[in-house]
């Protein structure tokens, strides 16, 4: 293994916290605690964590995210209480409760923001990469995006720009096959790696449920970016464990599809098998991590649920920086 035990434990813990957080949110949603259009990340934890483990949790290294952002937020080092509060619209949320699930951000750790306009955040990653190059910080910017987003003009333009200007950007294409209820084979010509090749961008496809596969591809791509060798793309095939958004009836999925994904392609189970197999971490320790993670997630959500909403005057603040 290329990673120390501490690194592995941290990675597993983060994945497990994301999972526990999402499972808990799902329960909340089922109990009718509405938090708008929540798009749960569960299933793709290995992606967020396998990538972000190579980034500094500061504004030097940036993550530009999507509507399905909880995992990116947590993996980038964002505060669990801040995201929980934000999702419940509380004053102490990352955005003071005014952004919500589709707009979680934490600029202290370089999580530039969830963005619920599909494709819109890819250019922001260019911008962060531009700053890194301009100021010679050695920083890297990661643009997360889905298979659906890969058909949006903004994303194509960004790929071209990143390559033409050799910006330190890594595009992570989280491909769960669906854009809402529509399957990719209906709407999407070519393949992610061929498209990247069209721009001369090095690209690789990996199993997004395999933490080690993602982490190793991300390591290479991020190193390339830091070295001044321009952008890369990593196509991650990921399972989607919940519906497109909470509340959606999932009628577009075959019966048994999700349970099969959960049994065959769970990144946490896979990780456990891998590290146990190589003797790095034992079952008991992993179980301990599981229960800590579950407690942390539950606590963050419980605290958020009973926390105060923003004060009425917050409606009018932060429209502008200057007034």
């Amino acid at each position: 293994m290329d990673y120390t035990k501490e690194e592995l434990i941290e990675a597993y813990m983060q994945m497990r916290i994301i999972r526990a957080f999402e499972e808990e949110l799902h329960r909340e949603a089922e109990e009718n605690n509405s938090f708008g259009f929540a798009h749960l990340y569960a299933g793709a934890e290995a992606c967020a964590v396998g990538v972000c483990m190579h980034l500094e949790p500061t504004m030097r290294d940036i993550v530009a995210s999507t509507h399905r952002a909880h995992g990116h937020f947590i993996a980038k080092g964002g505060d669990l209480n801040a995201i929980a509060h934000e999702i419940f619209g509380r004053a102490d949320g990352s955005g003071g409760g005014k952004g919500g699930t589709m707009h979680v951000a934490d600029w202290n750790v370089g999580m530039l923001g969830a963005n619920s306009i599909i494709g819109a955040s890819a250019p922001h990653a260019l911008g962060a990469a531009f700053t890194a190059k301009y100021k010679r910080t050695g920083g890297v910017a990661v643009a997360f995006g889905g298979d659906g987003a890969s058909n949006q003009g903004a994303v194509f333009e960004s790929m071209n720009f990143a390559k033409a200007y050799a910006l330190p950007v890594v595009f992570i294409l989280e491909d769960n096959g669906y854009a809402e209820s529509t399957y990719k084979s209906y709407t999407t010509a070519g393949s992610p790696c061929e498209r990247a090749a069209g721009f001369g961008i090095p690209a690789v496809s990996v199993d997004g449920a395999d933490f080690f596969a993602v982490a190793s591809a991300a390591k290479d791509a991020i190193a390339r970016a830091r070295n001044g060798d321009g952008p890369s793309l990593i196509h991650c095939d990921v399972p989607l464990f919940f519906a497109h958004f909470e509340g959606d009836q999932e009628t577009y999925r075959a019966s048994g599809e999700v349970s099969k994904l959960r049994s065959d392609r769970d990144c946490l189970a896979l990780f456990r098998a891998q590290v146990i197999g190589t003797g790095n971490i034992d079952t008991a320790e992993l179980d301990r991590l599981d229960s800590t993670a579950t407690q942390q997630a539950a606590k963050a959500i419980a605290t958020a649920k009973s926390a105060p909403q923003p004060p009425p005057q917050a409606l009018f603040t932060n429209v502008y920086a200057s007034y």
Binding site: K98, H103, Q152, T182, Y183, Y186, R253, P312, L315, F316
Partner: protein
């Protein structure tokens, strides 16, 4: 006549238009849903189920799910309209016009003026707007005033199921580009709707209530709020005329002006932002053309000049309320 929801009325209009004219087809993200997915074929019927069931009757040639490429598919619809079809395209949320605004602003709106009288773009663009359901800043905007600003575009915003059906059928039959605004908090509103096809002409306001003390002009979802406000005021002896312009462009100026001439007072209610919005549009027209009849300042009741907040208490506070309308009327009726 039967009592049905706004959603059902719209679905009905689409079904009738498609039955009536094979050139009518639908295009948008997930408007059937389930395309090539392993589950149900008509999985969504649009994110708000307005198009539910239509793929069953008309098939995927006429109910076309799209990639997330608004510029391509809105532009496609325009090109299809130019070449003989009558597309009804859905832009899921009005907020998403950001990524395809050019196709409205510089293309659909201007072809006829630039290319000459042979050029026609009979396209209907359905979209959702308004605050509701904690959809936050990027999924809750109103924005119809932006489209009203653009010559060559028609803008419709029905306030009830009856109007929704008649105006949508009118839009689909119209030879100009029409943007049809559906408030997402109104899909479950109910009302009496005839089962057959009928149209409501553009540019004809509906007078929802008569009263001599003040005129309230309201748009879309705010019409119902204005009616409730008028009801409350009436029990205190203040009688209002409530006008629903129904179409934002063209605007039925003459009905608005006539009502203001009779009441001498105007309150405009709009869920959009205050600057350069529909409230200022109507207020300005009245200040220019019915000034002599005005007995008091005009009042504008709008959302604030802020993005739409997420937190439920702020979201509720954001929406213009019945109480705001009542207060505005009271402030100019002594």
């Amino acid at each position: 006549m039967s009592i049905i929801t706004m959603r059902a009325a719209l679905n009905d209009a689409l079904r009738l238009a498609m039955r009536n004219d094979s050139d009518v087809f639908l295009l948008g993200e997930d408007i059937a849903g389930g395309a090539n997915a392993p589950g149900e074929d008509d999985a969504w019927g649009g994110v708000f189920q307005v198009t539910k069931g239509l793929v069953g009757e008309f098939g995927r040639e006429r109910v076309v799910d799209t990639p997330i490429s608004e510029t391509a598919f809105l532009g496609l619809a325009i090109g299809a309209a130019n070449t003989g079809l009558r597309p009804v395209v859905e832009i899921m949320f009005v907020d998403f016009f950001g990524v395809c605004f050019d196709q409205v602003l510089n293309n659909a709106a201007k072809f006829r003026y630039m290319y000459g009288a042979h050029a026609k773009t009979p396209i209907t663009i359905r979209t959702t707007y308004g605050v509701g359901g904690l959809a936050a800043a990027q999924h809750s905007q109103t924005l119809y005033s932006i489209f009203a600003h653009i010559p060559g575009i028609k803008v419709v915003a029905p306030s009830n199921p009856y109007d929704a059906k008649g105006l949508l059928l009118e839009a689909i039959g119209d030879d100009d580009p029409v943007i049809f605004f559906e408030h997402k908090a109104m899909y479950d509103d109910t009302g009496e709707v005839p089962s057959g096809a009928y149209t409501i002409p553009f540019g004809e306001a509906a007078i929802k209530r008569d009263g001599g003390d003040a005129t309230i002009v309201a748009f879309g979802r705010m019409v119902g709020f204005a009616e409730t406000a008028a009801e409350q005021l009436a029990s205190d002896g203040i009688h209002c005329t409530v006008v629903d312009p129904r179409t934002i462009s063209p605007l039925d100026e003459s009905t608005i002006l006539n009502c203001v001439r009779q009441t001498g007072r105007l309150v405009v209610v709009d869920e959009g932002h205050p600057r350069c919005g529909m409230a200022s549009d109507v207020a300005a027209i009245v200040a220019e053309k019915a000034f002599a009849d005005l007995k008091a300042p005009v009042r504008m009741v709008t959302a604030p000049h802020t993005p739409v907040p997420f937190a439920s208490n702020l979201e509720a506070e954001y929406i213009p309320s019945v109480a705001d309308i009542v207060a505005a009327v009271r402030s100019i009726v002594d």
